[in-house]
Amino acid sequence: MTELHISISAQPIFTLGGFEFTNSMLVSLIVSFILILVGYRFSKLIKRRKKTGFVLFIQTILESLYEFVSSITPHQAGKFFPLIASIFLFVLLSNWAGLLPGAETIGLLKDGYHIPLFRGGTADLNSTLGIALFAVFMIQVEGYRSLGAKYFKKFFDLSNPMNLFVSFLELISEISKIMSFAFRLFGNIFAGEVLLAVIAFLFPLFLPLPFIGMEIFVGFIQALVFATLTLVFINIATTSHH
């Protein structure tokens, strides 16, 4: 009977000098290209004022995202919408990319081991850590844009010892946001992949179907939670306190 091979880190497909190019990186690149192509084509068609089915479909998605963003930040939705929608769409497509036929199955054989060519983009802790660092960095940038240099007073309040302690805790909580974002997304998507691998290993006929359905749902919810949490933290960071 064949064995079950699960690797917690993304496997490298080829190496350039010291840099290992992994299968999750490949899928992230493909997802980015698809998003750029769709955006480019959509902007071309909008400029020529043609209303094809594709344009209406993309408009529906964008409008529901915009309504969602303005339900949380009513007055500043226009400022934060591009960032939040980009995070949401990239994380959503990367989560779902690991469920397509061909993910984890098409691969190379390197000295007896099967290395899959495609693995979900967010099933690699490096990718989720990168997106989390970017999101928390953008929270600080938006806070600085709205409040100026006073925003950083939040982290270094020297007025009395109590405020010093509280502001130090705020600094620690910003760093813990990075870890929380990264591990929440990675844990959900990687655990889903392990679950699908184990179910397919045990009973491949019809049993994986409800689990793939659940993974589609979990991928959508995790993308929504990532974008919503980023938006809520930006909202907190841009409101002045006094």
């Binding site: 929440r184 844990g187 655990a191």
Partner: protein, 87 residues
């Protein structure tokens, strides 16, 4: 000589078995807290929707946020269990 090899093999077997048990216990114990927390969050949300059905979409958004925070703790312990089992 044969007794030492047998003792070494028995030690290895006990190590492998106990590491599997520890990985299972990690996720089992780590899932108790978040499960209770999510139950409390959703029950309070349902209560407040029942009291005020008009605010239901606001309550739903905040509830999903709270559930994501609570679930993240369970995911941390799942990641530790996976690392123990597969690395």
């Amino acid at each position: 000589m044969a007794a030492e090899i047998a003792a070494e093999a028995a030690n290895q077997a006990i190590q492998v078995a106990s590491s599997n048990v520890i990985a299972g216990l990690t996720i089992a114990i780590g899932g108790i807290g978040p499960a209770i927390a999510i139950g409390l969050i959703v029950s309070k949300a349902l209560e407040s929707i029942g009291r005020n059905p008009e605010a239901s979409s606001k309550i739903q958004t905040v509830m999903i946020l709270g559930v994501a925070f609570a679930e993240a703790i369970a995911i941390y312990s799942l990641v530790v269990a996976l690392i123990l089992k597969f690395v």
